[in-house]
Point group: C2
Chain length 335, copies 2
């Protein structure tokens, strides 16, 4: 059951050298005669010796672990980003400790404590609170993704939310829509306003007045009513809906079906996040696609640059461009 794993002492004995020589041979730091090195390496895989990362970390005072704190791992958008982060970090010799905050402040704090206790080298977080501040104060390098809660305090990878929302809205306006309902999500504390700004910018560009009755924000009371339903009840003249994330798009579709409305005949729909099911539906859902793999990669790169000291100084914000994928869910409004 409890196997005693070989230590570097065992290895040294097996190779007939001292522990420090064995260490140098494997880490590649310091002088070691070539034949000696080969002898040590041979002994290592004969024994199946794997250096104890715990002891090594204690000695070196740093780990190869990166904390990844996600607000909703079940959401395909974040699952994609997290997967990209893992892949990229792994290729650079790091592993990730994943925590799901479920959008809760207290879970973020708990995760942050685990991260600092584990002495992670850095953290990548899709935050719902200014948790990065705590981490930074504890000496941890942080990169925020998707949302920015401590602007100016750490690097961040964000989407050009306004541009994406403007493109989506303009697309609807070009088709002739003038009454476009906007579904704003719950956790969109920074993305929400930006996407709203893009929506307004498009309206302005087309000379269409902004009507805040078309704006459906998340109900503050939890256990929430269906937002799409609230919107449609309030504004019966809506001809298109812009859902600012994939969860709201899902909800909107459900409500539209329940009401027996047809897309795009009765109502057009545009979504943020190009999730796989959006291309499966008939008609497909027109969507603002986020470059999830690039987001993950960029976040990992930003973090590693800091850790390696390749970049110091002021925080950097990388803004990635979304792209509008037009499908069948958008068409001219009913006459």
């Amino acid at each position: 059951m409890t196997v005693r794993r070989p230590t570097i002492s065992d290895l040294a004995r097996e190779a007939g050298v001292s522990r420090s020589t064995a260490s140098r041979a494997l880490t590649g730091r310091g002088y070691v005669a070539t034949p000696v090195r080969e002898r040590v390496v041979a002994a290592a895989d004969r024994l199946g010796y794997v250096p104890d990362a715990v002891a090594r970390s204690l000695r070196v005072r740093s780990t190869r672990a990166i904390g990844v704190l996600i607000s909703d791992l079940r959401n395909p958008f974040y699952a994609d980003v997290a997967t990209a982060v893992e892949r990229h970090l792994r290729s650079r010799g790091y592993h990730i400790i994943v925590a799901n905050s479920d959008g809760l402040d207290e879970e973020e704090r708990a995760a942050a404590t685990v991260f600092t206790a584990s002495r992670v080298a850095g953290v990548i977080v899709a935050p719902v609170s200014p948790i990065a501040r705590r981490l930074i104060d504890a000496g941890v390098t942080v990169v925020e993704i998707d949302r920015q809660m401590v602007a100016g305090a750490c690097d961040a990878v964000l989407l050009e939310n306004a541009a994406g929302a403007e493109a989506a809205t303009a697309h609807l306006l070009e088709l002739g829509h003038r009454r476009i309902g906007l579904l704003l999500g719950e956790m969109n504390w920074t993305t929400g306003p930006e996407r709203l700004a893009g929506y307004r910018a498009a309206l302005e560009r087309f000379g269409v007045p902004f009507d805040d009755r078309l704006l459906q924000e998340a109900p503050h009371a939890p256990g929430g009513e269906n937002q799409t339903s609230l919107l449609l009840d309030r504004c019966s003249d809506v001809t298109a809906i812009f859902a600012t994330n994939n969860l709201m798009a899902e909800e909107a579709l459900g409500e539209i079906q329940r009401r027996g409305l047809a897309i795009p005949r009765d109502l057009s729909l545009v979504a943020f996040d190009d999730i796989s099911w959006m291309s499966i539906l008939t008609p497909g859902v027109t969507a603002v696609a986020q470059p999830t793999a690039e987001i993950g990669r960029a976040a990992a790169d930003l973090l590693l640059e800091r850790l390696n000291g390749e970049r110091t100084g002021d925080p950097v914000v990388v803004r990635l461009d979304p792209s509008l994928v037009v499908r069948g869910s958008t068409a001219p409004p009913p006459a």
Copy 2:
């Protein structure tokens, strides 16, 4: 930048006690006078002291980390399971190191090395190779989920695959289908045969002969052709398709649309895995729902029981029941 984190020596000095007393006060092991304990605790959060998990692990010779090795984290089924695992383990004081194998043996081996080096307390794996064997040999406690590649060597949490497939097939047979195409996936090395067995069992129960031309297995050549297409080309009399995982269901839907076929009028469809989009589609997709949260919880429980020594001896296999969710994608075959 580099903040020197307070150590237990700092804490001891601040509280005016020895290091070991401070340790006992925080860990709660061994005697400590109540007023002393309070003094230490007060000093701890005055200093923002967080015990160094690395040093602690080295001393205690065990960590609170669990390795979670998933074959495809982007697949909603696994994302759901992983999230459940994380939630459950976190509540018990563990954190998870996540690795995505992408279905590749070599990635599994790499992850296993990272896990053993990190001295994880245990591993939960959705395997594509007998990687559990290596881990067990290295003294790591392992639980296999979804698939079993080293049966008898470690605990496992599996689905009643045959029962699920039989229910789905029987549902189609009851509707009158007699020519039911079966799409078998790639990585279904253990789930595939079981699901096939369920399919055959249902046929037998209804007195319908088995025709292996209706069986479409994953093409061995990678870069593969569309399996649904191959099936439909080969058997033009197919009236229903049973896709044995959500990815194949997605592929099937795409092909069905490309061919201009209507569901369920021309073709019925049943899927394994009840992913969120299946209830969004019109018609909704009839699906065999897996209890993802229970799978994750059960795996975590099995692992923790072993780690805590609450259970020893022969490996246990937990078999969870799927449920058939009937939606609009299944109907009697065309006359």
